[in-house]
Symmetry: C2
Subunit: 292 residues, 2 copies
DNA sequence: CAGAGCTACTTGTATATCTAAGTTTGCAAA
DNA sequence: TTTGCAAACTTAGATATACAAGTAGCTCTG
């Protein structure tokens, strides 16, 4: 480590790349792009010729380090003060860069602790398999891997218009409305609102919330009601979560969710429709479609 | 409009809800939560008893107005200066609130113009239909509705390991690598990288990029090669886009993407695998799964 | 040794001020 | 009437400062 031979005259950021150093003898020199770390002149990490904003360049540099593995998952970034020193900027742009990377889902920050490269949980696969048996839905998966099912609502209501349309019933028809939250490995991963035509479940064990989670999942439950299932339709959308969903699913910023609208059809009519909100950082939806 | 009868003594935000007004006669009164707009005392819009940060409360208030329709899509928000006046805060929290709403996909901001409630384009449906014929894939849809196909790469390469695995070929086997960008209604909506085993397409019209887009889509193209398609598998993930993808798809902040890994299987072997990156604000993926 | 408490460090929030850069508007000149 | 330009707006970016609040590690005390 060579000791610094120059006094460092840091110009304001908007005047760069005019980095100016003055030697101990008073001679002024301009360098292309030095960076001062402690008392040592080191290689530059951001390109001063880049006309983009300082916070963009800082974010780019950190992103490169993260994606290249120089900053592996779980490792801490330098503190804000350290980044300010390292990039010769001020706290505003540094925090803006951190906010950007957080919104990209690359880092997590924790007050009092620091900023860390986000560990990506392994993606679980949620399958609906038209070839095999169609039973491996989310509810079943949750049960299989020891998840918990939190019952939030389980009551007959008058069908709202979208539900009625999907069940091909007149608006206001009585339906059994069920709301669940699935918790896997201690973390909430899925919210679910589902609706049965009430005449289908009236007087059956499916009317009792204490029977949830039903062993084998919804499809088994339907079959126990004597329903023969012919088809499942799913519409998969993605979006950023609402604040409520962020709260209920314990999501970190920069995590999108799936919104799945699923309808299960029996031979003659739709028998369940549901709306699932699934944490996008934990699941991949897997489909297998046979072509006749 | 009643003229204001009081001088307004704005206390710093962290001291609220101690709003203090002094009458022209010098008497000091405390009000639960007034707000000054211009010269008029108006109903409060944020709850000073709320212990959360000021920017959170501002964001909540604006979000409520947007979701309720008081601020309809396309309408402008008050300017930063206006919001500063309205909420009696400073520019920092106001901008922080705007950043939050932008990351939620609720607003767009344009330098020099203002901040506007985002118009949500209608969601198009991308179907893969196992019941009918399996031909309505993205490529075909793009063609149907008059989209454009931008060819970015169309060349044989040595298969990278993930592609080789999905095609059940040894790593390094020659594959035809194709990269497209789909543009619908003047906006890019999908990036696609797809791979054929090279022996399948060698010496056929499918080897020539000038034949793209193939009428009827990839499945028709495969059938023209004498391939009998039996199954399509799709893994659907969602995430925030990379900066590159944001650029290439022209995405606004707060828009997630789908990442679809699709493999098409013939009777004896996989014949195409592709990785699609789809703008999440434009499409809903629709699946119809028959249950035997 | 166990626990309380202090200290130093971290990120989070709020304020004030300045400059840059893009957009709209209206007025004046051609 | 049309064009050009200046003024007045808008958001974007950077800096400086202050304090709040959470965390970790150390030391002191019992």
């Amino acid at each position: 480590m060579t000791p610094l031979l120059y006094d460092y005259l840091a110009p304001p950021v908007h005047e760069r790349p005019s980095f100016v150093l003055r030697t101990r003898e008073g001679k002024v020199v301009r360098l292309a792009d030095p960076l001062i770390q402690g008392s040592v002149l080191v290689a530059p990490t951001i390109d001063p010729a880049d006309p983009r904003a300082v916070y963009q360049r800082i974010a780019d540099d950190l992103r490169t380090q993260i994606l290249s593995g120089d900053l592996p998952p779980g490792s801490p970034l330098p503190s804000e003060a350290g980044l300010v020193r390292q990039y010769g900027s001020s706290r505003g742009p540094v925090r803006q860069a951190i906010n950007l990377l957080r919104s990209e889902g690359l880092i997590d920050s924790h007050q009092g602790r620091g900023v860390f490269v986000r560990r990506r949980p392994p993606l679980r696969r949620l399958s609906i398999d038209g070839v095999a048996d169609g039973t491996r839905d989310a509810q079943n998966s949750a049960a299989e891997i020891g998840g918990q099912l939190e019952v939030r609502r389980y009551a007959p209501i008058a069908a709202p218009s979208d539900v009625a349309a999907r069940l091909e019933l007149p608006e206001g028809t009585r339906v059994l409305a069920r709301s669940f939250r699935f918790i896997v490995e201690g973390r909430p991963v899925q919210l679910s609102d589902s609706y049965f035509p009430y005449d289908l479940v009236k007087g059956t064990p499916a009317e009792d919330p204490d029977n949830e989670p039903w062993p084998g999942g919804t499809l088994t439950q339907l079959r126990s009601l004597g329903v023969e299932i012919r088809e499942i339709t799913e519409d998969v959308a993605t979006r950023t979560p609402t604040p409520d969903e962020t709260q209920e699913l314990g999501l970190r910023p920069g995590t999108p969710v799936f919104e799945v609208t699923r309808t299960i059809h029996a031979t003659d009519r739709p028998v369940v429709t549901s709306r699932l909100v699934i944490a996008g950082d934990r699941y991949v939806l897997s489909y297998r479609i046979p072509i006749p």
